[in-house]
Symmetry: C2
Subunit: 288 residues, 2 copies
Protein backbone atom coordinates (compact mmCIF):
# COMPACT_ATOMS: atom_id res chain seq x y z
CA UNK A 1 0.00 0.00 0.00
CA UNK A 2 1.03 3.59 -0.55
CA UNK A 3 0.80 4.57 3.10
CA UNK A 4 -0.07 2.73 6.27
CA UNK A 5 -1.39 4.85 9.11
CA UNK A 6 -1.17 3.10 12.47
CA UNK A 7 -3.82 5.43 13.74
CA UNK A 8 -4.20 4.34 17.36
CA UNK A 9 -0.43 4.40 17.87
CA UNK A 10 -0.05 7.82 16.24
CA UNK A 11 2.56 6.38 13.88
CA UNK A 12 2.68 5.83 10.12
CA UNK A 13 4.91 4.75 7.26
CA UNK A 14 5.03 8.23 5.71
CA UNK A 15 5.24 10.25 8.88
CA UNK A 16 7.86 8.15 10.70
CA UNK A 17 11.06 6.28 9.78
CA UNK A 18 9.88 3.05 11.36
CA UNK A 19 12.99 0.94 10.54
CA UNK A 20 15.20 3.58 12.17
CA UNK A 21 12.95 3.91 15.19
CA UNK A 22 12.17 0.24 15.80
CA UNK A 23 14.26 -1.99 13.52
CA UNK A 24 16.40 -3.38 16.34
CA UNK A 25 13.59 -4.04 18.81
CA UNK A 26 13.80 -7.58 20.22
CA UNK A 27 11.25 -7.62 23.04
CA UNK A 28 7.79 -6.13 23.35
CA UNK A 29 6.01 -6.17 26.69
CA UNK A 30 2.36 -5.20 26.78
CA UNK A 31 0.02 -4.57 29.69
CA UNK A 32 -3.18 -2.69 30.47
CA UNK A 33 -2.35 0.52 32.26
CA UNK A 34 -0.33 3.36 30.66
CA UNK A 35 1.20 4.38 33.99
CA UNK A 36 2.13 0.81 34.77
CA UNK A 37 3.85 0.32 31.44
CA UNK A 38 5.79 3.55 31.96
CA UNK A 39 6.89 2.32 35.39
CA UNK A 40 7.84 -1.01 33.83
CA UNK A 41 9.92 0.75 31.16
CA UNK A 42 11.72 2.76 33.83
CA UNK A 43 12.43 -0.38 35.80
CA UNK A 44 13.81 -2.06 32.70
CA UNK A 45 15.97 0.96 32.00
CA UNK A 46 17.80 0.29 35.24
CA UNK A 47 17.66 -3.49 34.90
CA UNK A 48 19.33 -3.37 31.50
CA UNK A 49 22.04 -1.02 32.78
CA UNK A 50 21.29 1.78 30.32
CA UNK A 51 22.69 5.27 30.76
CA UNK A 52 20.70 7.85 32.74
CA UNK A 53 17.99 7.29 35.31
CA UNK A 54 15.14 6.66 32.86
CA UNK A 55 12.96 9.32 34.48
CA UNK A 56 12.61 11.31 31.27
CA UNK A 57 11.31 8.47 29.08
CA UNK A 58 9.09 9.92 26.36
CA UNK A 59 5.77 8.41 25.31
CA UNK A 60 6.20 7.54 21.63
CA UNK A 61 2.41 7.59 21.21
CA UNK A 62 1.96 10.94 23.00
CA UNK A 63 -0.11 12.26 20.10
CA UNK A 64 -2.95 9.90 21.03
CA UNK A 65 -4.51 8.98 24.36
CA UNK A 66 -5.47 5.50 23.16
CA UNK A 67 -2.19 3.80 24.10
CA UNK A 68 1.20 4.70 25.56
CA UNK A 69 4.53 3.32 24.28
CA UNK A 70 8.04 3.57 25.74
CA UNK A 71 11.31 2.31 24.37
CA UNK A 72 14.30 1.25 26.50
CA UNK A 73 17.16 -0.45 24.71
CA UNK A 74 15.87 -3.50 22.83
CA UNK A 75 12.47 -3.29 24.56
CA UNK A 76 9.13 -1.67 23.78
CA UNK A 77 6.69 -1.29 26.68
CA UNK A 78 3.14 -0.65 25.46
CA UNK A 79 -0.22 -0.25 27.19
CA UNK A 80 -3.25 -1.96 25.67
CA UNK A 81 -6.22 -0.87 27.77
CA UNK A 82 -8.78 -3.36 29.03
CA UNK A 83 -10.46 -6.24 27.20
CA UNK A 84 -9.78 -8.24 24.06
CA UNK A 85 -11.00 -5.63 21.53
CA UNK A 86 -8.72 -2.96 22.96
CA UNK A 87 -5.76 -5.36 22.98
CA UNK A 88 -6.62 -6.43 19.44
CA UNK A 89 -6.41 -2.91 18.03
CA UNK A 90 -3.03 -2.33 19.62
CA UNK A 91 -1.66 -5.70 18.58
CA UNK A 92 -2.93 -5.38 15.01
CA UNK A 93 -1.05 -2.11 14.65
CA UNK A 94 1.97 -3.39 16.59
CA UNK A 95 2.41 -6.36 14.26
CA UNK A 96 2.21 -4.00 11.31
CA UNK A 97 4.74 -1.74 13.01
CA UNK A 98 7.21 -4.62 13.48
CA UNK A 99 6.66 -5.62 9.86
CA UNK A 100 7.23 -2.13 8.47
CA UNK A 101 10.26 -1.67 10.74
CA UNK A 102 11.72 -4.95 9.39
CA UNK A 103 12.19 -6.34 12.89
CA UNK A 104 13.47 -9.89 13.30
CA UNK A 105 13.30 -12.43 16.13
CA UNK A 106 10.95 -10.45 18.31
CA UNK A 107 9.53 -11.88 21.53
CA UNK A 108 6.20 -10.44 22.69
CA UNK A 109 5.08 -10.97 26.28
CA UNK A 110 1.98 -9.75 28.03
CA UNK A 111 2.43 -8.97 31.72
CA UNK A 112 -0.51 -8.26 33.95
CA UNK A 113 -2.53 -9.08 37.02
CA UNK A 114 -5.42 -11.52 37.14
CA UNK A 115 -7.65 -13.57 39.32
CA UNK A 116 -6.43 -17.02 40.26
CA UNK A 117 -7.91 -20.40 41.06
CA UNK A 118 -6.26 -22.67 43.57
CA UNK A 119 -2.85 -21.00 43.52
CA UNK A 120 -1.00 -19.16 46.24
CA UNK A 121 -1.60 -15.39 46.37
CA UNK A 122 1.31 -13.62 44.73
CA UNK A 123 2.15 -16.51 42.44
CA UNK A 124 3.45 -15.92 38.95
CA UNK A 125 1.74 -17.92 36.24
CA UNK A 126 3.33 -18.42 32.84
CA UNK A 127 0.46 -19.19 30.50
CA UNK A 128 0.90 -22.09 28.09
CA UNK A 129 -2.64 -22.07 26.74
CA UNK A 130 -5.65 -19.77 26.86
CA UNK A 131 -9.20 -21.05 27.28
CA UNK A 132 -12.37 -19.09 26.63
CA UNK A 133 -15.27 -18.30 28.96
CA UNK A 134 -16.55 -21.85 28.38
CA UNK A 135 -13.09 -23.27 29.24
CA UNK A 136 -12.42 -24.30 25.65
CA UNK A 137 -8.98 -23.77 24.05
CA UNK A 138 -10.28 -21.65 21.21
CA UNK A 139 -10.78 -18.07 20.14
CA UNK A 140 -13.86 -17.22 18.09
CA UNK A 141 -14.18 -14.13 15.97
CA UNK A 142 -16.77 -13.06 13.44
CA UNK A 143 -15.09 -12.11 10.17
CA UNK A 144 -17.30 -10.96 7.33
CA UNK A 145 -20.29 -12.50 9.03
CA UNK A 146 -18.66 -15.91 9.52
CA UNK A 147 -17.45 -17.33 12.81
CA UNK A 148 -13.73 -18.12 12.57
CA UNK A 149 -12.27 -20.40 15.25
CA UNK A 150 -8.56 -20.39 16.07
CA UNK A 151 -6.36 -22.28 18.50
CA UNK A 152 -4.81 -20.83 21.63
CA UNK A 153 -1.55 -22.64 22.36
CA UNK A 154 1.49 -20.50 23.11
CA UNK A 155 5.20 -20.80 22.39
CA UNK A 156 6.33 -23.78 24.45
CA UNK A 157 10.00 -22.92 24.17
CA UNK A 158 9.49 -19.47 25.60
CA UNK A 159 7.36 -20.91 28.41
CA UNK A 160 10.28 -23.12 29.38
CA UNK A 161 12.77 -20.28 29.14
CA UNK A 162 10.69 -18.05 31.41
CA UNK A 163 10.19 -20.89 33.85
CA UNK A 164 13.95 -21.40 33.94
CA UNK A 165 14.42 -17.69 34.63
CA UNK A 166 12.15 -18.03 37.65
CA UNK A 167 14.69 -20.22 39.40
CA UNK A 168 16.71 -17.10 40.20
CA UNK A 169 13.80 -15.60 42.15
CA UNK A 170 12.61 -18.36 44.49
CA UNK A 171 10.68 -15.90 46.67
CA UNK A 172 8.04 -15.69 43.93
CA UNK A 173 6.20 -19.00 43.42
CA UNK A 174 6.14 -19.55 39.67
CA UNK A 175 4.18 -22.13 37.73
CA UNK A 176 2.96 -22.90 34.23
CA UNK A 177 -0.81 -23.10 33.62
CA UNK A 178 -3.79 -22.29 31.48
CA UNK A 179 -5.55 -18.93 31.60
CA UNK A 180 -9.26 -18.38 31.12
CA UNK A 181 -10.02 -15.28 29.07
CA UNK A 182 -13.47 -13.69 29.11
CA UNK A 183 -15.14 -10.80 27.29
CA UNK A 184 -16.51 -9.44 30.53
CA UNK A 185 -14.78 -8.44 33.74
CA UNK A 186 -17.71 -8.80 36.11
CA UNK A 187 -20.28 -11.32 34.96
CA UNK A 188 -17.91 -13.16 32.67
CA UNK A 189 -15.31 -13.65 35.37
CA UNK A 190 -17.90 -13.99 38.14
CA UNK A 191 -16.54 -10.93 39.89
CA UNK A 192 -19.77 -9.22 40.83
CA UNK A 193 -18.10 -6.98 43.32
CA UNK A 194 -20.26 -8.30 46.14
CA UNK A 195 -20.33 -11.49 48.18
CA UNK A 196 -22.17 -14.21 46.32
CA UNK A 197 -20.80 -17.65 47.25
CA UNK A 198 -23.35 -19.59 45.27
CA UNK A 199 -22.34 -17.73 42.12
CA UNK A 200 -18.62 -17.57 42.63
CA UNK A 201 -18.04 -21.22 43.38
CA UNK A 202 -19.23 -22.49 40.02
CA UNK A 203 -16.34 -21.41 37.81
CA UNK A 204 -13.92 -22.79 40.36
CA UNK A 205 -15.60 -26.14 40.12
CA UNK A 206 -15.71 -25.99 36.36
CA UNK A 207 -12.08 -24.97 36.23
CA UNK A 208 -11.17 -27.92 38.37
CA UNK A 209 -12.20 -30.11 35.48
CA UNK A 210 -9.66 -28.37 33.27
CA UNK A 211 -6.12 -29.39 34.13
CA UNK A 212 -3.91 -26.48 35.06
CA UNK A 213 -6.50 -23.75 34.54
CA UNK A 214 -5.20 -21.38 37.15
CA UNK A 215 -5.91 -17.88 35.94
CA UNK A 216 -8.83 -15.70 34.91
CA UNK A 217 -8.12 -12.71 32.72
CA UNK A 218 -9.85 -10.40 30.27
CA UNK A 219 -7.11 -10.01 27.72
CA UNK A 220 -5.36 -13.33 27.32
CA UNK A 221 -6.70 -14.65 24.04
CA UNK A 222 -6.32 -11.54 22.00
CA UNK A 223 -2.56 -11.06 21.87
CA UNK A 224 -2.15 -14.73 21.35
CA UNK A 225 -4.54 -14.88 18.48
CA UNK A 226 -3.86 -11.63 16.80
CA UNK A 227 -0.93 -12.68 14.64
CA UNK A 228 -2.88 -15.72 13.54
CA UNK A 229 -6.05 -13.96 12.62
CA UNK A 230 -4.72 -11.34 10.24
CA UNK A 231 -4.07 -13.01 6.91
CA UNK A 232 -2.46 -9.92 5.48
CA UNK A 233 0.12 -10.06 8.25
CA UNK A 234 1.07 -13.70 8.00
CA UNK A 235 4.42 -12.77 6.51
CA UNK A 236 5.10 -10.41 9.36
CA UNK A 237 4.28 -13.13 11.83
CA UNK A 238 6.64 -15.65 10.35
CA UNK A 239 9.51 -13.30 9.69
CA UNK A 240 9.54 -10.62 12.32
CA UNK A 241 7.88 -12.03 15.36
CA UNK A 242 8.84 -15.62 15.82
CA UNK A 243 7.94 -15.97 19.46
CA UNK A 244 4.62 -14.47 20.25
CA UNK A 245 2.88 -13.57 23.40
CA UNK A 246 3.70 -15.94 26.15
CA UNK A 247 2.01 -14.51 29.15
CA UNK A 248 3.77 -13.71 32.39
CA UNK A 249 1.02 -12.90 34.82
CA UNK A 250 0.86 -13.08 38.58
CA UNK A 251 -1.29 -12.11 41.56
CA UNK A 252 -4.25 -13.62 43.16
CA UNK A 253 -6.54 -12.20 45.80
CA UNK A 254 -10.16 -13.01 46.49
CA UNK A 255 -11.62 -9.71 45.37
CA UNK A 256 -10.27 -8.99 41.91
CA UNK A 257 -11.75 -5.51 41.95
CA UNK A 258 -9.37 -4.50 44.73
CA UNK A 259 -6.43 -6.51 43.58
CA UNK A 260 -4.12 -3.90 42.18
CA UNK A 261 -4.99 -1.34 44.81
CA UNK A 262 -4.07 -3.20 47.95
CA UNK A 263 -1.16 -4.75 49.71
CA UNK A 264 -0.64 -7.52 47.21
CA UNK A 265 0.77 -4.84 44.99
CA UNK A 266 -0.28 -5.71 41.49
CA UNK A 267 1.49 -3.66 38.88
CA UNK A 268 4.64 -2.66 40.68
CA UNK A 269 5.91 -5.98 41.87
CA UNK A 270 4.52 -7.66 38.77
CA UNK A 271 6.49 -5.35 36.54
CA UNK A 272 9.69 -5.83 38.48
CA UNK A 273 9.35 -9.57 38.37
CA UNK A 274 8.60 -9.59 34.67
CA UNK A 275 11.58 -7.33 34.20
CA UNK A 276 13.87 -9.66 36.07
CA UNK A 277 12.91 -12.53 33.81
CA UNK A 278 13.18 -10.39 30.72
CA UNK A 279 16.56 -9.03 31.69
CA UNK A 280 17.79 -12.58 32.12
CA UNK A 281 16.47 -13.48 28.69
CA UNK A 282 18.11 -10.44 27.17
CA UNK A 283 21.46 -10.82 28.88
CA UNK A 284 21.39 -14.48 27.94
CA UNK A 285 20.73 -13.71 24.29
CA UNK A 286 23.62 -11.25 24.05
CA UNK A 287 25.91 -13.27 26.27
CA UNK A 288 25.79 -10.64 29.03
CA UNK B 1 -22.59 -4.97 51.31
CA UNK B 2 -20.31 -3.31 53.82
CA UNK B 3 -18.27 -1.45 51.25
CA UNK B 4 -18.38 -1.16 47.49
CA UNK B 5 -15.13 -0.24 45.80
CA UNK B 6 -15.62 1.07 42.27
CA UNK B 7 -12.05 0.19 41.55
CA UNK B 8 -11.63 1.31 37.95
CA UNK B 9 -13.22 4.68 38.73
CA UNK B 10 -11.10 5.19 41.85
CA UNK B 11 -14.27 5.77 43.89
CA UNK B 12 -15.96 3.89 46.72
CA UNK B 13 -18.78 4.02 49.22
CA UNK B 14 -16.46 4.37 52.21
CA UNK B 15 -13.91 6.69 50.69
CA UNK B 16 -16.32 9.12 48.98
CA UNK B 17 -19.67 10.74 49.80
CA UNK B 18 -21.29 9.59 46.57
CA UNK B 19 -24.76 11.14 47.18
CA UNK B 20 -23.15 14.52 47.83
CA UNK B 21 -20.85 14.23 44.82
CA UNK B 22 -23.31 12.82 42.30
CA UNK B 23 -26.86 12.78 43.73
CA UNK B 24 -28.14 15.51 41.39
CA UNK B 25 -26.57 14.19 38.19
CA UNK B 26 -29.15 14.03 35.37
CA UNK B 27 -27.09 13.30 32.26
CA UNK B 28 -24.11 11.03 31.66
CA UNK B 29 -22.27 11.20 28.37
CA UNK B 30 -19.70 8.51 27.64
CA UNK B 31 -17.15 8.20 24.84
CA UNK B 32 -13.87 6.49 24.15
CA UNK B 33 -11.05 8.99 24.51
CA UNK B 34 -10.16 10.69 27.83
CA UNK B 35 -9.03 13.88 26.08
CA UNK B 36 -12.16 13.97 23.99
CA UNK B 37 -14.41 13.61 27.00
CA UNK B 38 -12.53 16.42 28.74
CA UNK B 39 -13.00 18.64 25.69
CA UNK B 40 -16.67 17.70 25.64
CA UNK B 41 -17.05 18.61 29.30
CA UNK B 42 -15.43 21.99 28.67
CA UNK B 43 -17.73 22.62 25.74
CA UNK B 44 -20.74 21.73 27.88
CA UNK B 45 -19.49 24.05 30.60
CA UNK B 46 -19.91 26.95 28.20
CA UNK B 47 -23.05 25.57 26.59
CA UNK B 48 -24.81 25.31 29.94
CA UNK B 49 -23.77 28.86 30.89
CA UNK B 50 -21.88 27.85 34.02
CA UNK B 51 -19.53 30.26 35.79
CA UNK B 52 -15.85 30.33 34.82
CA UNK B 53 -14.22 29.18 31.62
CA UNK B 54 -14.14 25.46 32.43
CA UNK B 55 -10.42 25.24 31.73
CA UNK B 56 -9.61 23.97 35.22
CA UNK B 57 -11.99 21.00 35.21
CA UNK B 58 -10.60 18.27 37.45
CA UNK B 59 -10.57 14.59 36.53
CA UNK B 60 -12.65 12.89 39.26
CA UNK B 61 -10.92 9.58 38.44
CA UNK B 62 -7.41 11.07 38.49
CA UNK B 63 -6.24 8.33 40.86
CA UNK B 64 -6.54 5.77 38.07
CA UNK B 65 -5.51 5.82 34.43
CA UNK B 66 -8.28 3.43 33.40
CA UNK B 67 -10.95 6.09 32.82
CA UNK B 68 -11.38 9.86 33.10
CA UNK B 69 -14.50 11.57 34.52
CA UNK B 70 -15.51 15.24 34.52
CA UNK B 71 -18.54 16.90 36.04
CA UNK B 72 -20.17 20.08 34.71
CA UNK B 73 -23.50 21.08 36.24
CA UNK B 74 -25.95 18.18 35.87
CA UNK B 75 -23.63 16.30 33.51
CA UNK B 76 -20.95 13.65 33.91
CA UNK B 77 -18.58 13.16 30.97
CA UNK B 78 -16.73 9.84 31.18
CA UNK B 79 -14.27 8.04 28.93
CA UNK B 80 -14.71 4.30 28.38
CA UNK B 81 -11.75 3.20 26.29
CA UNK B 82 -12.19 0.98 23.24
CA UNK B 83 -14.33 -2.12 22.81
CA UNK B 84 -17.26 -3.69 24.61
CA UNK B 85 -15.30 -5.16 27.57
CA UNK B 86 -13.76 -1.81 28.41
CA UNK B 87 -17.14 -0.07 28.15
CA UNK B 88 -18.71 -2.81 30.26
CA UNK B 89 -16.34 -2.30 33.18
CA UNK B 90 -17.00 1.43 33.23
CA UNK B 91 -20.74 1.06 32.85
CA UNK B 92 -20.97 -1.63 35.52
CA UNK B 93 -19.30 0.70 37.98
CA UNK B 94 -21.18 3.75 36.72
CA UNK B 95 -24.56 2.10 37.31
CA UNK B 96 -23.44 1.20 40.81
CA UNK B 97 -22.26 4.77 41.31
CA UNK B 98 -25.66 6.18 40.28
CA UNK B 99 -27.34 3.68 42.58
CA UNK B 100 -25.18 4.48 45.59
CA UNK B 101 -25.54 8.21 44.90
CA UNK B 102 -29.35 7.80 44.86
CA UNK B 103 -29.63 9.48 41.46
CA UNK B 104 -33.02 9.72 39.80
CA UNK B 105 -34.18 10.20 36.19
CA UNK B 106 -30.74 9.90 34.66
CA UNK B 107 -30.24 9.89 30.88
CA UNK B 108 -27.12 8.14 29.61
CA UNK B 109 -25.91 8.81 26.08
CA UNK B 110 -22.89 7.47 24.27
CA UNK B 111 -21.32 9.87 21.79
CA UNK B 112 -18.66 8.74 19.40
CA UNK B 113 -17.40 8.36 15.87
CA UNK B 114 -17.96 5.34 13.66
CA UNK B 115 -17.92 3.96 10.20
CA UNK B 116 -21.04 4.42 8.10
CA UNK B 117 -22.88 2.59 5.36
CA UNK B 118 -24.76 4.51 2.71
CA UNK B 119 -25.01 7.76 4.63
CA UNK B 120 -23.55 11.16 3.87
CA UNK B 121 -20.13 11.81 5.43
CA UNK B 122 -20.55 13.93 8.53
CA UNK B 123 -24.05 12.69 9.27
CA UNK B 124 -25.27 12.23 12.80
CA UNK B 125 -26.94 8.91 13.49
CA UNK B 126 -29.17 8.40 16.53
CA UNK B 127 -29.15 4.68 17.16
CA UNK B 128 -32.47 3.02 17.84
CA UNK B 129 -31.20 -0.56 17.86
CA UNK B 130 -27.84 -2.29 17.96
CA UNK B 131 -27.07 -5.37 15.90
CA UNK B 132 -24.15 -7.72 16.41
CA UNK B 133 -21.40 -8.73 13.99
CA UNK B 134 -23.89 -11.11 12.32
CA UNK B 135 -26.44 -8.27 12.00
CA UNK B 136 -28.73 -9.78 14.63
CA UNK B 137 -30.42 -7.56 17.27
CA UNK B 138 -28.94 -9.43 20.22
CA UNK B 139 -26.08 -9.30 22.69
CA UNK B 140 -24.55 -12.57 23.83
CA UNK B 141 -22.52 -12.96 26.97
CA UNK B 142 -21.19 -16.03 28.74
CA UNK B 143 -22.22 -15.96 32.39
CA UNK B 144 -21.10 -18.84 34.57
CA UNK B 145 -20.42 -20.91 31.50
CA UNK B 146 -23.84 -20.34 29.95
CA UNK B 147 -24.56 -18.14 26.95
CA UNK B 148 -27.06 -15.44 27.93
CA UNK B 149 -28.81 -13.59 25.07
CA UNK B 150 -30.33 -10.14 25.56
CA UNK B 151 -32.18 -7.70 23.33
CA UNK B 152 -30.74 -4.46 21.98
CA UNK B 153 -33.55 -1.96 21.51
CA UNK B 154 -33.01 1.52 22.88
CA UNK B 155 -35.26 4.15 24.47
CA UNK B 156 -37.61 5.21 21.69
CA UNK B 157 -38.72 8.35 23.48
CA UNK B 158 -35.20 9.64 23.84
CA UNK B 159 -34.50 8.84 20.18
CA UNK B 160 -37.42 11.06 19.20
CA UNK B 161 -36.33 13.85 21.57
CA UNK B 162 -32.82 13.86 20.16
CA UNK B 163 -34.15 13.82 16.62
CA UNK B 164 -36.34 16.81 17.47
CA UNK B 165 -33.29 18.62 18.84
CA UNK B 166 -31.54 18.12 15.53
CA UNK B 167 -34.03 20.42 13.80
CA UNK B 168 -32.17 23.38 15.30
CA UNK B 169 -28.95 22.38 13.54
CA UNK B 170 -29.93 21.72 9.92
CA UNK B 171 -26.32 21.93 8.74
CA UNK B 172 -25.71 18.49 10.25
CA UNK B 173 -27.72 15.75 8.49
CA UNK B 174 -29.31 13.72 11.28
CA UNK B 175 -31.11 10.40 10.99
CA UNK B 176 -32.25 7.46 13.08
CA UNK B 177 -30.80 4.02 12.32
CA UNK B 178 -29.35 0.76 13.53
CA UNK B 179 -25.72 0.36 14.54
CA UNK B 180 -23.65 -2.76 14.06
CA UNK B 181 -21.37 -3.50 17.01
CA UNK B 182 -18.41 -5.84 16.69
CA UNK B 183 -15.81 -7.26 19.06
CA UNK B 184 -13.04 -6.41 16.65
CA UNK B 185 -12.03 -3.15 15.05
CA UNK B 186 -10.18 -4.52 12.03
CA UNK B 187 -11.40 -7.93 10.95
CA UNK B 188 -14.78 -7.62 12.66
CA UNK B 189 -15.56 -4.31 11.02
CA UNK B 190 -13.74 -5.20 7.80
CA UNK B 191 -11.33 -2.33 8.28
CA UNK B 192 -8.10 -4.03 7.33
CA UNK B 193 -6.29 -0.78 6.89
CA UNK B 194 -5.40 -1.59 3.31
CA UNK B 195 -7.31 -1.64 0.03
CA UNK B 196 -9.22 -4.87 -0.36
CA UNK B 197 -12.38 -4.32 -2.38
CA UNK B 198 -13.40 -7.94 -2.46
CA UNK B 199 -13.36 -8.04 1.32
CA UNK B 200 -14.83 -4.67 2.09
CA UNK B 201 -17.86 -4.90 -0.13
CA UNK B 202 -19.42 -7.86 1.62
CA UNK B 203 -20.61 -6.21 4.83
CA UNK B 204 -22.12 -3.40 2.81
CA UNK B 205 -24.13 -5.91 0.83
CA UNK B 206 -25.14 -7.75 3.96
CA UNK B 207 -26.07 -4.53 5.68
CA UNK B 208 -28.28 -3.60 2.79
CA UNK B 209 -30.49 -6.51 3.76
CA UNK B 210 -30.94 -4.98 7.19
CA UNK B 211 -33.21 -1.96 7.12
CA UNK B 212 -31.61 1.16 8.52
CA UNK B 213 -28.29 -0.41 9.47
CA UNK B 214 -26.15 2.64 8.92
CA UNK B 215 -23.33 2.48 11.40
CA UNK B 216 -20.46 0.21 12.39
CA UNK B 217 -19.03 0.61 15.85
CA UNK B 218 -17.08 -1.33 18.46
CA UNK B 219 -18.87 -0.21 21.57
CA UNK B 220 -22.55 0.05 20.83
CA UNK B 221 -24.00 -3.04 22.45
CA UNK B 222 -22.26 -2.84 25.76
CA UNK B 223 -23.69 0.33 27.29
CA UNK B 224 -27.07 -0.64 26.03
CA UNK B 225 -26.95 -4.05 27.57
CA UNK B 226 -25.11 -3.37 30.74
CA UNK B 227 -28.04 -2.34 32.93
CA UNK B 228 -29.96 -5.38 31.75
CA UNK B 229 -27.26 -7.88 32.39
CA UNK B 230 -26.48 -7.14 36.00
CA UNK B 231 -29.21 -8.71 38.12
CA UNK B 232 -27.89 -7.14 41.29
CA UNK B 233 -28.40 -3.73 39.73
CA UNK B 234 -31.92 -4.14 38.45
CA UNK B 235 -33.21 -1.82 41.14
CA UNK B 236 -30.72 0.82 40.14
CA UNK B 237 -31.81 0.52 36.56
CA UNK B 238 -35.47 1.03 37.26
CA UNK B 239 -35.10 3.76 39.82
CA UNK B 240 -32.06 5.81 39.00
CA UNK B 241 -31.47 5.49 35.30
CA UNK B 242 -34.76 5.49 33.50
CA UNK B 243 -33.47 6.40 30.07
CA UNK B 244 -30.43 4.47 29.14
CA UNK B 245 -27.89 4.79 26.44
CA UNK B 246 -29.38 6.16 23.31
CA UNK B 247 -26.47 6.63 21.02
CA UNK B 248 -25.64 9.88 19.31
CA UNK B 249 -22.94 9.02 16.86
CA UNK B 250 -21.80 10.67 13.69
CA UNK B 251 -19.06 10.65 11.07
CA UNK B 252 -18.36 8.54 8.12
CA UNK B 253 -15.28 8.48 5.96
CA UNK B 254 -13.94 5.68 3.83
CA UNK B 255 -10.93 4.86 5.95
CA UNK B 256 -12.08 4.48 9.51
CA UNK B 257 -8.52 4.34 10.74
CA UNK B 258 -7.98 7.94 9.71
CA UNK B 259 -11.41 9.18 10.57
CA UNK B 260 -10.82 11.17 13.70
CA UNK B 261 -7.52 12.55 12.53
CA UNK B 262 -8.53 14.26 9.33
CA UNK B 263 -10.71 17.01 8.02
CA UNK B 264 -14.01 15.43 8.89
CA UNK B 265 -13.16 16.30 12.43
CA UNK B 266 -14.33 13.42 14.53
CA UNK B 267 -14.29 14.14 18.22
CA UNK B 268 -14.42 17.92 18.23
CA UNK B 269 -17.39 18.56 16.02
CA UNK B 270 -19.05 15.41 17.31
CA UNK B 271 -18.77 16.60 20.86
CA UNK B 272 -20.09 20.03 20.05
CA UNK B 273 -23.04 18.64 18.21
CA UNK B 274 -23.86 16.23 20.99
CA UNK B 275 -23.55 19.10 23.40
CA UNK B 276 -25.98 21.23 21.44
CA UNK B 277 -28.58 18.49 21.60
CA UNK B 278 -27.92 17.83 25.24
CA UNK B 279 -28.11 21.49 26.16
CA UNK B 280 -31.47 21.67 24.44
CA UNK B 281 -32.67 18.65 26.40
CA UNK B 282 -31.41 20.15 29.64
CA UNK B 283 -32.77 23.63 29.09
CA UNK B 284 -36.05 22.06 28.05
CA UNK B 285 -36.25 19.97 31.19
CA UNK B 286 -35.68 22.97 33.48
CA UNK B 287 -37.71 25.36 31.38
CA UNK B 288 -34.59 27.31 30.35
Amino acid sequence: MDEDVLYHLDLGTKTHDLPAMFGDVKFVCVGGSPKRMRAFAQFMHKELGLEGDGEDLADICAGTDRYAMYRVGPLLSISHGMGIPSVSIMLHELIKLLHHAKCRDVTIIRIGTSGGLGVQAGSVVITDRAVDACFQPRFEQVVLGDVVVRGTDLDGGLVEELLACSKATPDFPTLVGHTMCTYDFYEGKTCFGCPSPELSVQPVLRAAAVPRCVRVSSERSAPLERPLQIPALSQAKSSSADRMCVHLAPRYIRSVTRMAGTAVGGGGAMGELGGCYLAQLWHGSVGG
